[in-house]
Symmetry: C2
Subunit: 156 residues, 2 copies
C-alpha cells in the first residue's frame, strides 16, 4: 500500500475537484490508495449526507465511485508505464460513463470502504469496477469508463 | 407545469435527502417540476462544485440526475394513478441503478436544465431517462431505475 494517495500527486492547478481535490476546502477529499492490485478508499459520511434517516444518499455513493475509480485508473496507468505517480507527463482521466447499482441501503454511521479494480486498461480508456462496503457488507457496485486526457487540456 | 415541486410533497420525516430534501440545510435542494410529459429541474452550480477549473464535477451531475429522475418517477406515478401528489398512500422510490454518460464538460458558470422522461412505468419499478443541458447543449445523459418502496419502510 502506498503511503500517499494518488490524489496527492495531482497537479496543483487541477486539484480542486469537489470530490477528490486536496485544494477544494468544501469538498469530499476522496483519497485512493493503490497497492498494485486494487485501489482502496476509506470514507466517513457526515450527518448531512443522508437520504432516508440513517442512510447515505445515492449521489454521494456515485461521487465516491466516480473519483475513486478515476484515481485507481490513474494509479494503475503510472504502474503500467513503469513510472512513479506524478512524473511527467502527468496522467489524467475524465469520466466517460458511470454506472452504479445500489444493492442495499448504505448506513451513514460507519466508515465506508471502497475497493476498485482495473477491468480493462487501454491506451485511451480504462474500465474500473468498484464496490462500496459498510460493516463488511457490499452495499453498491459501480463501473467507470475513464477516458485519458492531457492534464492541461483546454476543456472549453 | 405545476407550481410546486414534487419534493414539496415528500413527507416531512423523509424530506432530509442531501440531494433533494427541503429539510436538509446543507443539501442541494434539487426540485422537480412535472408538466405531464416531462420533469424539469433548474440548478445553478456553486463555485465549489468544480471538477477541472470552469467545469462541474461528475458527482454533482450524477446526484442531479438521480434525485430528479426519482422525483419524475414519483410525479408520473401519482398522475398514472389519477391522484394528486402527496395524497395517501404516499408514493416513494429508491434508486436501483444509475447510469450517466458524460458527453461534454459541463460549464459551472451557468444554470443547468435537466429534462427527464418516463421510459417505462411498472408497478414495482420505473425507468427514467434524463438529459442535462448547459446553454442549450446536452452535456450528460442519464438513466435511472427507480424501485417503488413504502415511504415508512424500515430500511435497516
Amino acid at each position: 500500500m502506498t503511503e500517499k494517495a494518488i490524489q496527492d500527486f495531482y497537479p496543483d492547478e487541477v486539484a480542486i475537484c469537489y470530490g477528490c481535490g486536496r485544494h477544494n476546502p468544501h469538498g469530499l477529499h476522496i483519497r485512493t490508495y493503490w497497492d498494485g492490485e486494487e485501489g482502496i478508499c476509506y470514507f466517513k459520511p457526515q450527518p448531512q449526507d443522508t437520504a432516508f434517516p440513517g442512510f447515505v444518499y445515492g449521489g454521494l455513493i456515485a461521487s465516491l465511485i466516480d473519483c475513486h475509480s478515476i484515481g485507481t485508473a490513474i494509479a494503475a496507468s503510472y504502474e503500467a508505464e513503469g513510472r512513479e505517480p506524478g512524473t511527467e507527463p502527468q496522467i489524467t482521466f475524465v469520466t466517460g460513463t458511470l454506472k452504479v447499482k445500489y444493492l442495499h441501503p448504505t448506513p451513514i454511521d460507519t466508515e465506508l470502504v471502497l475497493r476498485a479494480h482495473v477491468k480493462e486498461l487501454h491506451k485511451k480508456k480504462t474500465i474500473v469496477t468498484c464496490s462500496v462496503y459498510a460493516n463488511g457488507k457490499e452495499c453498491a457496485q459501480g463501473e467507470v469508463i475513464g477516458v485519458r486526457a492531457p492534464w492541461d487540456l483546454n476543456l472549453a
